[in-house]
């Protein structure tokens, strides 16, 4: 048991290392997508959600170094044990984030901040060596059309100075993955940048009407006879401009308390 705990701890530690995209992979043809991530803390109640921080990282690459296909739509689905709550959390209008630097975005929407991270995009300009844009990510609680939950992921690169907003709309569904964040990559991304890898840490605790709340909550629904178990933590689905669609699941462990 101690060995199992040590292995789990090691796995979690690896998973939490930034940039170590060593998660699960799926390959189709020369295209490989991977998903990595985790939640913290690992020890969770069996039967009720507790505030957690979720880290999701993904990578898209080709095994032969050929240019990446452009992602047109991405979907991140969280396991049914997770809960996304925005009740009482301030929202930021998407327009306030458009063409804003990171500092301006924070200045304008700090109250709605739900996460941060980073993004790398490979830029493929014809007849030119690809280069990578490193952007910092800020996630803000938003509100979609009709008042639905949304997460505006603001990306800003100082070199070159570009800014864009990835609009993730949140929907809830039945099944193993009940919370789904979907973003159609906007035209604002432009023709040449191709999403290569990202890492987003979502976490926000706030108080609403005297109650402490968390943007994300989760439980560890293992059978009573077990103190730890594995769960399919998240699924990422990428749709590419060539109509290919690849999904990858991320399985993580949790410990019941």
């Amino acid at each position: 048991m101690k060995l199992a705990a040590a292995a789990l701890a090691a796995a979690v530690a690896l998973a939490l290392l930034p940039g170590a995209a060593v998660g699960e992979r799926t390959q189709r043809g020369n295209l490989i997508v991977s998903l990595d991530g985790g939640i913290a803390p690992l020890r969770l109640p069996r039967d009720r959600p507790a505030p957690v921080a979720v880290r999701i990282g993904g990578e898209i690459r080709t095994d032969d170094g050929s240019p990446l296909p452009r992602v047109t739509r991405t979907e991140i689905a969280l396991a049914g044990s997770g809960l996304l709550s925005t009740h009482g959390l301030p929202t930021c209008p998407r327009a306030r984030l458009r063409n804003a630097t990171g500092a301006l975005a924070m200045q304008r929407c700090r109250a709605a901040l739900v996460g941060s991270g980073r993004l790398e995009a490979e830029v493929f300009v014809p007849e030119q060596a690809p280069f990578t844009i490193h952007a910092s990510l800020l996630a803000f609680n938003g509100s979609g059309r009709g008042g639905g939950a949304a997460v505006w992921v603001h990306a800003y690169s100082a070199d070159p100075p570009v800014s864009l907003v990835l609009p993730f709309l949140v929907r809830h569904q039945d099944g193993a993955f009940r919370t789904v964040l979907t973003a159609a990559l906007p035209r604002a991304v432009g023709t040449y940048p191709h999403l290569a890898r990202f890492q987003l840490n979502l976490s926000r605790k706030y108080t609403y009407r005297g109650q402490r709340r968390s943007f994300l909550s989760a439980s560890c629904p293992v059978p009573p006879s077990l103190t730890a178990g594995f769960l399919t933590f998240a699924r990422a689905t990428y749709r590419f401009e060539d109509e290919r669609s690849l999904s990858v699941d991320s399985v993580r462990s949790c410990r019941a308390r």
Binding site: A95, N99, A100, D159, P160, P161, V162, S163, L164
Partner: protein
Amino acid sequence: MRKNRFTRPYLAVLLAMCSVWLMLASPASAAFDISAFDGTTPLQGGEPATQAGSHPFLASTSFSFSTYFTPGGREWPTGTLKDAVVDLPAGLSANSAAYPTCTDLKLVGASGGEPDCPESSQVGVLILKAGGGTAPFNQVGGLYNMERPGGATAVLGANIAGSLIHLVAGIRTGGDYGVRISSRNTPQTVVVEGATVILWGTPAAPAFDSQRRPTAGPSTAALRPFLTLPTSCLGPLRTDLHVTTWEGEADSSFFLSHDDTTPVPNPIGTTGCNTLGFSPALRAHPTTSLADSPSGLEADLHFPQDDFDDPDKMVEAQLRDAVATLPEGIAVNPAAANGLQGCSAADVGLTSAPGATPIAYTEAAAHCPDASKVGSVEIGTPLLDHQVRGDVYLATPFDNPFGSLLAFYVAVDDGESGIVVKLAGGVEADPASGRLTATFTESPQLPFEDLRLDFFGGPGGLLRTPATCGTYSTASSLTPWSAPDSGPPATPSDTYSIEQAPTGGVCPRSPAEQPHVPSFDAGAISPVAGADSPFVADLRREDGSQQFSSLALTPPRGLVAKLAGVSTCADSALATARARTGREEERAPSCPAASRVGSVAVGAGAGFTPFYLGGSLYLASPYKGAPLSLAIVVPALAGPFDLGTIVVRAAIQVDPRSAQITVESDPIPSILQGIPLDVRSLQLRLDRPGFTLNPTSCEPTAVSGQLLSTLGQGAPLRSRFQLGECGRLGFAPKLRLSLRGRTGRNAHPALTAVLTPRPDDANVAGISVSLPPSMLLAQEHIRGVCTRARFAARACPPDSVYGSAEARTPLLDQPLSGDVYLRSSDNRLPDLAVMLRGPDSQPIELELSGRIDSAQGGIRIAFAAAPDAPVSRLVLRMRGGRDGLLVNARGICLARPRARVRLRAQNGKRATRSPRLRTSCR
């Protein structure tokens, strides 16, 4: 009146004349004419002598005039003889030098009436038919070989009843060079009805002893022939007589040689040409053994005359046509044209039309200008006791007997013998190789022993030796007058060696071994930065090196030409120039003066003193894909030669990135009408006032290029180039940045940048503009990016255009304008590429490449390598709105943003600006 007669069946050779006092005037009613004219050259047995080149026993000729009877019964000739001229058949010669001479004093005689001349000087007999009596009577006298006064070839004299009669022999200059014997100004007191002259074939022969004076003994002279028949077998020989009287009347007559032994006079000529010998020797070689050097030519034709003095043997056949072919490699040396003139048809006395045959001249000596003298001639003949010397003159091109570019005259005016010779030699130069072939035709039928032509050598030698060492031969084809009976032409040749390189060292044995290391100097006359100064490029090669062909020159960056106000020479004008003679082009240039931008001097020819051709450089229209071109127009006038007009185009390529020009010439002609241009130096001088501007950088650089030889070998050219006084050039350009369009957050403003340098400042070398961090790159508006390949092909897609630009420069009349693209690059981001293009008449293209990156969070655009060319105003307009590459991260009216601008000058000076971006904010 001219008549021919066959009244007597004899072959005639010489004319005899006598004189008596005129007693009565002839009546005006009776017309003067020659009643008889005939002659013969028999063998000793009486039959006609016909063997060509042989010596007849004698020659006898006689003539008589028509007469009338007075009422008193006296017979008078119808005219009083004044001048009588006999033209002997060409080729019939009398060798007066073979016998001793008599003086006039002795011819008069001391004993009153009988001459005291030595018997060995008697060469014949004169029989005079005198009139004025009731019947004509003959007076006989010996005919003596007289001392020759200056100016006469030979003089024969007789003393008839105390009257001295002189027959003066000369050469028929300008025609067939036969012997002409004349007696002029016969005293009117002499009544001549006719005469017979008998010349002895070998006067010393005992057979004539009986015809000498009764008191004389046998001749003590050597037995040498006096008369020789022609060495040609061309049919009957013609003898002409021309007579004029004191009364002003004239008459002519002639007879053809004929056989008297047939019942009907039968014209016959010389025969047996096939038995004549013809064994000439040729020596013809350059005057130097140096390769590729100016040279003369020594040519000596030797005709053996061993049997000339043997009365029993025939003489050597005489030269009729000569063709000499110099070896390939020996060609006309253009350097010889320095100070050279041509001898015109009028100068030489040519009476036949250029190109017409037979060639005919006046009898007067040639009066060619000294500047046309290109050599000397020396003729040795056994007929004279001295060498005959003369000169060789260059004939005026196309105004010569051949109507050809190259020809020369051999002119002899021998004051001692009175012989005047004018011969023309035609020269053909192979249009591809320049190989020379000289031709003489219809040479005089005279017995030459040596004919030596020396064409002058020295630094301005007429010829240029082969460029490589080796053994060479001059070939010839010599045709005698005895042809075709005597067989094929003789073909003597002369072989010689070219052994030394002109500048020392190893002498190349093949063209490829010739060095190709031209010297090259180029630079500005005034080496001051930014100044307008003539630019000179000077190219030279040594003798013995490979010849120039095409040239590519790249002046240093920043050396630019002010095309404003300069027109271009149209292609049609250049075509006209090509078709014109050099003199026409020189007199009225085909290109407009407004298109002239410089001059060119071409040094042509081997040696230390090449001939310099002057020409002009014109700005011309686009050529071979280049936006501009130069036209090198050189009237090829070299001395008397007009070889047309040389037009060489040179494309002016403009490097669109640096504005550095490269001039690439077409091949320079190496030969014109068979005359090698043999370019030794080429100086190009762009000297139109204010046309060329120096760079404003003082960094050391170079004028570089490549010279291709006619063998296709390339030689690099490099001449150091550096200017001074860069420090005096200021640098204070103005830059105005303005934003148009909406000013709020998320707006995509249009950016306009206007750069205005000061006149006479150093030119801008680089500029960097950092926009405020509040302006981001609107990547969603980045649609197309032009690849470098398509950009180079000027085929960028429309969606890669993001703006426009316009540059005004004092160099051009029209501004350059074009689009602004995003273009692939080696940088992280695509470059902002500006393509500027001039008007269609001057389609110069310039590229400005701006690197896009970021500095302190803002967009930075850096144009690092601007051309070193003056710009009066540069406007860059980036589109806004949906096509805008910029987006406001915040409203720009809140805090008027500033840009940071760094400027770098070509002379190293720097300037920094922080201009506020102009907006429409109020």
